[in-house]
C-alpha cells in the first residue's frame, strides 16, 4: 500500500523534527530540568543555576526579550508609548535622562552639564565631547539645534502624533514655549523659554526628545510627512549603546552593540532582539518554552509561576501609575451620580485590597490620591485629601440617604476597555466584573458596557459619555500638573468633559497651582486642587499597580525604573 508508506514517512518526519529539536535548541534556553524532554538524551549547555546574580559582567551573547508590541514609529519624536520607547531608547538618547530607579532626579546623557532651575527661562547645556552618531556624523550643538528646530516646525501631519513635544512645549510653531535654541558655540546650546516651566527639563528627558543625526534626518527627508522614511526604515541615526540592524514589523527588532559607544562602557550584549508578543500569557509561555529570555509586563496572576521558580527570576517595577474609576455626573440625564452622596457611595463600595490581591498578584497599593508613592510630590500634594475606606454598609447607607433602595436602585452604566492591558490595568475585564459585583452589593444597579480601547473607548470616555469608566495614567515626568493638571484642567472655561467635574474654585485653584513655581508652595497649591477633586469624588483612585519583568536566571543587571523606561546597556548574560 503506497499510501501508507507515504504516511509513515510523514509521521517519522514530524517525530524526527520533535526529537532533533534539543540538539538544535539554543544554549541559552532555560534549563528544562523539571520536565526532561521525552526525546531525552542531549547534553545541552550547563544550567544557569550556578551563576546566581553575582560576578563580573560578561560580554557577549544574544538576549531575546518579549515586549507587547514593536514600535509605533521608528521616528522617536512621533512616539508616545512604552513599547516604542523600549526599542528606541536603546538606539537614541536625549540630552538628559532620569537617574535609573528614580522619577525625579536627572543626569546628563548627551549633555555633560547644564544650568537652569524651574524658575528660570534660560537653560545652557554643555554637550559631551567626542560623541558620534551611528552613521559617523559628529554630535555637536548644531545637531541639537537642528532637532529642536525640526520639532518646533513640525508639519501638521506630524503634530498629531508628536504628542510629547506638543504637551511639554505647549504646542508647535513660533509661539510655543520655546523662544529660541541657539548653538552658542560648538559644544554649547542655549535654550530660551518664553516663560518659566517647571516641567521643561523632565520633558526633554523623554525618548521623543532624542537627538537624531542631522545627516540621517536629511537623508530620510524627515521633515516631509509625505516622503519621510525615518519612521519606517532601518537607519543609523542614534548615539545610543545599540544600533538597529534589522526591523521586521510584527516579528522582531534586532539591535547590535555600538562598539563606539560614548558611555563608560559599551553594551555587554552582542545582540538584543525584541519580539512583539501581544498576549501576556503567550509571553510567559515563550519564556517557559525558551523562545525568549525575558519579557516585560507579566500578567500579575503569573507572578508566582516565575517568582522563585527554578531557572527564572522576577524583577519588580514599582508603580508610577494609577488606575481610577471615572465618575461623571453629567454623562446621562438625571444621573444618580449628580448627588454627592451617591458618588461617595461608589467610593466606599470598592474593596481595593481585594482587587490588588486578585488582579495585581499582590503587587500594588491602594491609591488614596492620584499621585503614586514613588512621586516626590506624594506627601505634599496628598495632604488633606479625603480617603474613602472600603465600607459597603456606609455605601448602602449613603444610597438610602439619597433616596435609593432595592425597589428604586441607583442605576449607573459602567464601561471597560477591550483589546488592551495597561500597567495600571492588567485585566480590565476581570476588574470590571469584580467592581460591578462590589457596586451591586452596595445596592447599585449596573449596566455593563465595553468598547475597543484606542478607537472607541478613549474618545467616548474623554467626551464624557460614560457614567463610570476605568482609566488610568502613567506619569510622564514628576510634577503634579502631569496628573491633576492634565486630567482636570479647564479649556475655555469648560471643565474636562471626561469627568464633568465642575467644582467651585477648581479652575482658579488649577491656574494658581500651574503658575506657582517654588517647590514648597507648588506642593501646597496642588494639594488644594487634589482636595477639591477627591472631596467631590470626581473620580475614585483605585490602585497603584506594580509591574514586573520576568527573566531567566542568566539575565543579569536589569534595573527596573518606575517610569518603565529602561536601558539594556548594563544587562549581561551569565553562564554561556
Amino acid at each position: 500500500m503506497p499510501n501508507w508508506r507515504w504516511f509513515s514517512v510523514f509521521t517519522v518526519l514530524i517525530l524526527v523534527l520533535a526529537a532533533c529539536g534539543d540538539a538544535g535548541t539554543s544554549a541559552s534556553a532555560p534549563d528544562e530540568s523539571d520536565d526532561p524532554p521525552a526525546s531525552g538524551s542531549d547534553a545541552s549547555e550547563p544550567p544557569a543555576s550556578d551563576g546566581g546574580t553575582s560576578g563580573e559582567p560578561q560580554t557577549g551573547g544574544t538576549l531575546v526579550f518579549g515586549g507587547a508590541a514593536l514600535a509605533a514609529s521608528l521616528d522617536p519624536a512621533l512616539t508616545s508609548d512604552g513599547e516604542s520607547f523600549r526599542i528606541l531608547q536603546q538606539i537614541y538618547e536625549p540630552l538628559v535622562d532620569l537617574v535609573p530607579g528614580t522619577v525625579d532626579e536627572l543626569e546628563g546623557v548627551l549633555a555633560e552639564s547644564w544650568t537652569g532651575e524651574p524658575e528660570d527661562t534660560e537653560y545652557v547645556f554643555t554637550l559631551k565631547e567626542g560623541v558620534t552618531f551611528h552613521d559617523g556624523t559628529p554630535f555637536n550643538a548644531e545637531a541639537v539645534k537642528t532637532n529642536f528646530d525640526r520639532w518646533q516646525t513640525f508639519a501638521e501631519e506630524f503634530q498629531g502624533n508628536a504628542y510629547y513635544y506638543g504637551a511639554v512645549m505647549d504646542g508647535f510653531g513660533p509661539d510655543n514655549l520655546i523662544e529660541s535654541v541657539e548653538a552658542t558655540d560648538e559644544m554649547t546650546v542655549t535654550i530660551t523659554l518664553r516663560e518659566a516651566s517647571p516641567t521643561f527639563l523632565f520633558g526633554i528627558a523623554l525618548t521623543p526628545f532624542s537627538i537624531v543625526s542631522p545627516a540621517v534626518l536629511e537623508a530620510t527627508s524627515a521633515d516631509d510627512p509625505a516622503t519621510s522614511t525615518l519612521g519606517t526604515d532601518t537607519v543609523q541615526g542614534g548615539t545610543g549603546p545599540f544600533v538597529m540592524e534589522e526591523y521586521i514589523p510584527d516579528d522582531s527588532a534586532t539591535l547590535v552593540r555600538n562598539d563606539d559607544y560614548h558611555g563608560e562602557h559599551t553594551a555587554y550584549l552582542d545582540r538584543l532582539i525584541i519580539r512583539p508578543i501581544a498576549d501576556p500569557a503567550a509571553r510567559l509561555q515563550a519564556l517557559q518554552g525558551g523562545s525568549v529570555q525575558g519579557f516585560d509586563l507579566i500578567a500579575p496572576g503569573d507572578r508566582d509561576a516565575v517568582d522563585g521558580a527554578e531557572g527564572f527570576q522576577l524583577v519588580n517595577r514599582e508603580s508610577y501609575n494609577t488606575l481610577y474609576l471615572g465618575v461623571n455626573p453629567t454623562a446621562t440625564d438625571d444621573s444618580s451620580l449628580a448627588d454627592l452622596a451617591v458618588r461617595q457611595a461608589v467610593a466606599h463600595a470598592i474593596d481595593r485590597e481585594a482587587l490588588i490581591e486578585a488582579f495585581y498578584g499582590g503587587g500594588g497599593s491602594p491609591a488614596d490620591i492620584f499621585l503614586p508613592p514613588t512621586s516626590g510630590w506624594f506627601d505634599s500634594v496628598g495632604e488633606g485629601a479625603e480617603v474613602y475606606e472600603y465600607d459597603p454598609e456606609a455605601a448602602t447607607a449613603l444610597l438610602e440617604g439619597a433616596g435609593f433602595d432595592a425597589d428604586n436602585p441607583a442605576t449607573v452604566n459602567f464601561w471597560y476597555p477591550t483589546e488592551v492591558t495597561r500597567p495600571y490595568m492588567p485585566d480590565p475585564q476581570g476588574l470590571h466584573q469584580a467592581v460591578t459585583t462590589m457596586l451591586e452589593d452596595a445596592g447599585f444597579e449596573v449596566e455593563p458596557g465595553s468598547a475597543i480601547w484606542g478607537t472607541e473607548y478613549i474618545p467616548a470616555a474623554q467626551n464624557g459619555e460614560y457614567d463610570l469608566h476605568f482609566l488610568g495614567w502613567t506619569g510622564d515626568f514628576d510634577d503634579p500638573s502631569n496628573w491633576y493638571g492634565v486630567h482636570f484642567g479647564y479649556a475655555q472655561g469648560e471643565p474636562a468633559a471626561q469627568f464633568g467635574c465642575d467644582v467651585d474654585g477648581l479652575e482658579a485653584a488649577i491656574d494658581e497651582a500651574e503658575s506657582t513655581l517654588e517647590e514648597g508652595a507648588r506642593g501646597t497649591a496642588w494639594s488644594e486642587v487634589a482636595q477639591l477633586v477627591h472631596n467631590e469624588v470626581c473620580f475614585v483612585t483605585l490602585v497603584h499597580g506594580d509591574t514586573a519583568i520576568a527573566l531567566t536566571d542568566q539575565v543579569q543587571g536589569y534595573v527596573a525604573n518606575p517610569t518603565g523606561s529602561e536601558s539594556f546597556l548594563d544587562v549581561w548574560l551569565s553562564g554561556e
Binding site: L284, Q288, G301, D302, A358, G430, Q433, T437, P448
Partner: protein, 296 residues
C-alpha cells in the same frame, strides 16, 4: 427493533412514508446520528434546566474564593472571580445553543430566499445574486464575522447575525444548485406540461425536494456556528457583560493559567468539542440518510 415495523418494501411506501419517513428510519439505524442526537438532547436539557442543575449562580463571584481547584464543592473549580466553573459551563450552553440556532435560522431564511430567487428566475437576478455570493465567499468567514461584530457591537444577537451573514451565501448556493438540478427532473417537466407554473411550481413541487441538502447543511452549520461563536468569544468579542458565561470567552479568560490551572481552559474546551461533535454526528447521519445515492 423498531426497524422491523417499517421494513415493508420501500417502493410501496413511497407515498405514505416518503423521503422523510425513509430518512428517519435510516437515521435510526445509524449509530452516528443516534449518538449525535443524544449529545444534542443532553445539551438542550442542560440549557433548559440550567437553574436546577447548576449548584451556584454563574455570574456571582467572590474574590475571596478565586482559583479553587476542582473539588466536591466546585466540580470544575473556580475562576479568578471566584465563580463556579461548573455552573458557568451549564449556563454557557444556553448562550451557545441560542446563538447557534438563531444564526442558522436567520442564515437559512435569507440564504434560501436568495437561493430560491436565483435558482427560479435565473437571468440577471441569478447573476447579480450569485456575484454577491461570490464576493461574500471571497472573504474568510471568521474575518467577516469579526468585522460584523465590530460593526454591530458585542452581544448575543449581534454574534448570531454575524455568523448568519457568513452562512447566507452558503445556503443560497446550496438551494440554487438543488433547484437547478431539479429543473430537468421528470416530475417537474411533467408538472409544467400540465400547466403548473410560477410560485406554485416552486413552492409545491421543487422546494420540498430541494430541501434535504439544506437541512443537512443547516445541521452542520449549527456545528460551525458553535465554533465561530466560541472563536469570537475567544478573541474577546463575546457578550458585553463579561459575567455572562460563554464557553469561548471562558477559555480565553483563563488560558493564561494553562501552566497551573489547565482545567480552567480544559472544561470549556471539552464542552465546545462535545457540542460541535453532536451537531456534526447528527448532520452526518442525516446526510447519509437523505443521500439518494446511498439509499440505493
Amino acid at each position: 427493533m423498531t426497524g422491523a415495523a417499517v421494513s415493508r418494501p420501500v417502493e410501496q411506501q413511497e407515498r405514505s412514508v416518503g423521503l422523510w419517513g425513509d430518512a428517519l428510519r435510516r437515521m435510526r439505524g445509524s449509530p452516528a446520528a443516534i449518538i449525535g442526537a443524544a449529545i444534542i438532547i443532553f445539551f438542550v436539557l442542560m440549557a433548559i434546566f440550567a437553574p436546577f442543575i447548576a449548584p451556584y449562580d454563574p455570574t456571582r463571584g467572590d474574590l475571596g474564593s478565586s482559583y479553587l481547584p476542582p473539588s466536591g464543592e466546585h466540580f470544575f473549580g473556580t475562576n479568578v472571580q471566584g465563580q463556579d466553573v461548573f455552573s458557568r459551563i451549564i449556563f454557557g450552553s444556553r448562550l451557545t445553543l441560542g446563538i447557534a440556532v438563531m444564526s442558522v435560522t436567520i442564515g437559512v431564511a435569507f440564504g434560501s430566499l436568495l437561493g430560491a430567487l436565483a435558482g427560479y428566475f435565473r437571468g440577471w437576478i441569478d447573476a447579480t445574486i450569485m456575484r454577491g455570493v461570490d464576493i461574500m465567499l471571497s472573504i474568510p468567514g471568521l474575518l467577516l464575522a469579526i468585522a460584523v461584530v465590530s460593526w454591530l457591537g458585542r452581544g448575543a444577537v449581534q454574534i448570531a447575525i454575524a455568523i448568519a451573514i457568513v452562512n447566507v451565501p452558503i445556503f443560497a448556493r446550496i438551494l440554487r444548485a438543488s433547484l437547478l438540478a431539479l429543473r430537468d427532473a421528470d416530475y417537474v417537466i411533467a408538472a409544467k406540461s400540465v400547466g403548473v407554473g410560477g410560485p406554485a411550481l416552486l413552492l409545491r413541487h421543487m422546494l420540498p425536494n430541494a430541501i434535504g441538502p439544506l437541512i443537512v447543511q443547516a445541521t452542520l452549520a449549527l456545528a460551525t456556528a458553535v465554533v465561530d461563536a466560541a472563536a469570537l468569544g475567544f478573541l474577546g468579542l463575546g457578550p458585553p457583560d463579561p459575567r455572562t458565561p460563554e464557553w469561548g470567552a471562558m477559555l480565553s479568560d483563563t488560558y493564561r493559567y494553562l501552566t497551573d490551572a489547565v482545567h480552567l481552559a480544559f472544561f470549556p474546551g471539552i464542552a465546545i468539542v462535545l457540542a460541535v461533535l453532536g451537531f456534526n454526528l447528527l448532520g452526518d447521519g442525516m446526510r447519509e440518510a437523505l443521500d439518494p445515492k446511498l439509499r440505493r
